[in-house]
Each structure stands twice: as structure tokens, then as C-alpha cells.
């Protein structure tokens, strides 16, 4: 048996390669699921938004018709000032407030899709790193000289450093909202 066969280094290299390959496969599935989640969310929110605006338009038209009808009708004085008529008019304000809250709530999609996109980007970056490490691991399996090993480890360190940098244009803290209350406003 040669000294090369006794060394655990080739086995460690193979283990690293297998680990990286396995990890990158898992990350591919995570990315695929996240993409599908984002796709479904986009579809759902687009449809909900369309139906919501259509309902709001229909209710607004219904209220306008009601007001017109009320103006044209000759109603007894006691009915004009009745609680029912007043309640119907108050309903306009209630609907307005509910529409307002719904518009705030529907914005969850914008916030969550940013988070999903960022998670996909990070997963993608990590997968690229694992694939790079896998290639290095294959090199380690075949490397016999200490100098060659040092060079490969140095390259792995560089890949790790490169991958640790934030993806371009991404801020770590851009979505910090914990609830869907409206955000602050500042005029300069």
C-alpha cells in the first residue's frame, strides 16, 4: 500500500464533493419551491386585486344610484330623516374605511415577494458556492502534493469570501415591517 492510499485527504475531498453536490440539489429544490410560491402569490394577488377594485367600483356606483334615486323620489319628511336612510349614508363611510384597510393589507404581497426574491438570490449564491467547492473537492481527491493542496484551499477561501459579499443592490434591512400598519411619512 502506498503512502498516498493511507492519506485521508482524498477521502475528505470526495466527502466534500458529495456533501456539496447533495447540498446544491437541496437548494435547487428550495429555489424551485420558492419560485412556485412566488408565482402562485403573484397570480392570487393579481386576481384578488382585480376583483377587489371591481367590487369597489360596483359598490360606489350602487351608492351613487341610491343617492340619485333618493334625490328624485318624493319621500315623506319623516322617512327622509329616518334612521334607515341615515344608516345607509353612514355605510358609505364604513365601506371607505374598509377599502382603506384592504388596500393596506393587500400590500403584504409587495413586502413578502421582496423577501422571497432575496431568499432565492441567497440560495442561488450558496448553491453556486457549493458547486465551486464540489469542483475543488474533486481537485483535492486527486491532489497529492502539499503545495497543490494549499493552492486549492486558498481558492476555496477566495470563493467563500466572494460569496459572503451581499448580492449587488441588496440591503440587509430593507424589509423590517412586522405588521401591516401604514408606514411613516416625511416631507423634506
Amino acid at each position: 500500500m502506498t503512502r498516498q492510499n493511507d492519506s485521508p485527504v482524498p477521502e475528505l475531498g470526495r466527502l466534500l464533493s458529495a456533501l456539496c453536490e447533495n447540498g446544491s440539489q437541496h437548494l435547487s429544490r428550495v429555489e424551485s419551491d420558492l419560485m412556485q410560491t412566488m408565482f402562485l402569490l403573484n397570480e392570487a394577488i393579481e386576481k384578488i386585486g382585480q376583483h377587489f377594485t371591481a367590487i369597489h367600483q360596483a359598490v360606489s356606483e350602487q351608492q351613487a344610484e341610491f343617492e340619485l334615486l333618493l334625490a328624485q323620489m318624493v319621500l315623506p319628511a319623516q322617512l327622509k330623516d329616518s334612521e334607515q336612510i341615515s344608516a345607509l349614508r353612514d355605510l358609505r363611510e364604513v365601506i371607505g374605511d374598509e377599502v382603506n384597510s384592504a388596500v393596506v393589507g393587500l400590500q403584504f404581497h409587495d413586502l413578502t415577494s421582496q423577501l422571497i426574491s432575496r431568499t432565492i438570490n441567497r440560495s442561488n449564491g450558496l448553491r453556486d458556492l457549493l458547486l465551486t467547492f464540489k469542483a475543488h473537492g474533486d481537485g483535492i481527491s486527486a491532489a497529492h502534493e502539499a503545495e497543490e493542496m494549499v493552492r486549492l484551499l486558498g481558492e476555496m477561501g477566495e470563493s467563500l469570501k466572494h460569496c459572503s459579499a451581499d448580492p449587488a443592490g441588496e440591503s440587509c434591512h430593507s424589509v423590517q415591517q412586522r405588521h401591516l400598519g401604514c408606514g411613516e411619512i416625511e416631507l423634506f
Binding site: 393596506v104 409587495d110 415591517q177 401604514c182
Partner: protein
């Protein structure tokens, strides 16, 4: 004549909500999907106010503001940021770029309309 607002955001649902809110208040809304699209539409049309997101593909909000301020016709047009970003550092960068205000998402339609009315009437 109704005033025109350019809403720039890469999120379709957010643009939909902005347009819905502002149109209900009587404004015309032109939509753009990113900063570059916003810049192109701003050059094509006369816009009374720009409402832009920050984090967008192709061109972000701060770059859009700087590009618009570089155009003679947009030196005095109000520009508001509507973004998830809320740090003082980002606000300072927005102000330095030429933004007139900063609104943190999610926005409340009533308050958005109040701000828009205050800025452009």
C-alpha cells in the same frame, strides 16, 4: 384638468393599489415597472409628480431621481419615494438625490392622497 402622477414600482400589485387609490381621488396615473421604464415614460409624458420605489431591477429609485433631476423639465417636479426602506441613511441619500419626501410602505390610501394633495394640490 386632472394632474398626472407617474407611479414607478416593480411590484404589479403595489402599482395596482397606488393607481386604485390615486385614480379614486381624481388623478391620472401612469405606471412604470422599474426606474428605466419610469425615466422613459417621464420623457414621453408631462408628469406633475413622481412616486417611486427604491429597490427595483435595471434602475433603482435613487438613480431614477438623479436622472430626472438631470433633465431640465424635471428639476422642479416633486418626487416622492414610496419604499420599504426606512433607515435614516437611505432617507438622507434620497434627500441628497433630490427627493421631496419619503413614504414607508405599506401606505395608507387616505394619507397618500393627503400628501399628494399637499404637494401638488
Amino acid at each position: 384638468m386632472a394632474k398626472t402622477i407617474l407611479a414607478v414600482d416593480d411590484s404589479g400589485s403595489l402599482r395596482q393599489m397606488v393607481a386604485f387609490s390615486l385614480q379614486a381621488a381624481g388623478y391620472n396615473v401612469v405606471q412604470a415597472v422599474d426606474g428605466q421604464d419610469g425615466l422613459n415614460k417621464a420623457k414621453e409624458k408631462t408628469v406633475d409628480l413622481v412616486l417611486t420605489d427604491q429597490n427595483m431591477p435595471i434602475m433603482d429609485g435613487l438613480t431614477l431621481i438623479k436622472s430626472l433631476r438631470g433633465l431640465g423639465s424635471y428639476q422642479k417636479v416633486p418626487i416622492l419615494m414610496l419604499t420599504t426602506e426606512s433607515s435614516d441613511e437611505m432617507k438622507a441619500r434620497g434627500k441628497a438625490a433630490g427627493a421631496n419626501g419619503w413614504l414607508v410602505k405599506p401606505f395608507d390610501p387616505k394619507r397618500l392622497i393627503e400628501v399628494v394633495q399637499k404637494v401638488i394640490g
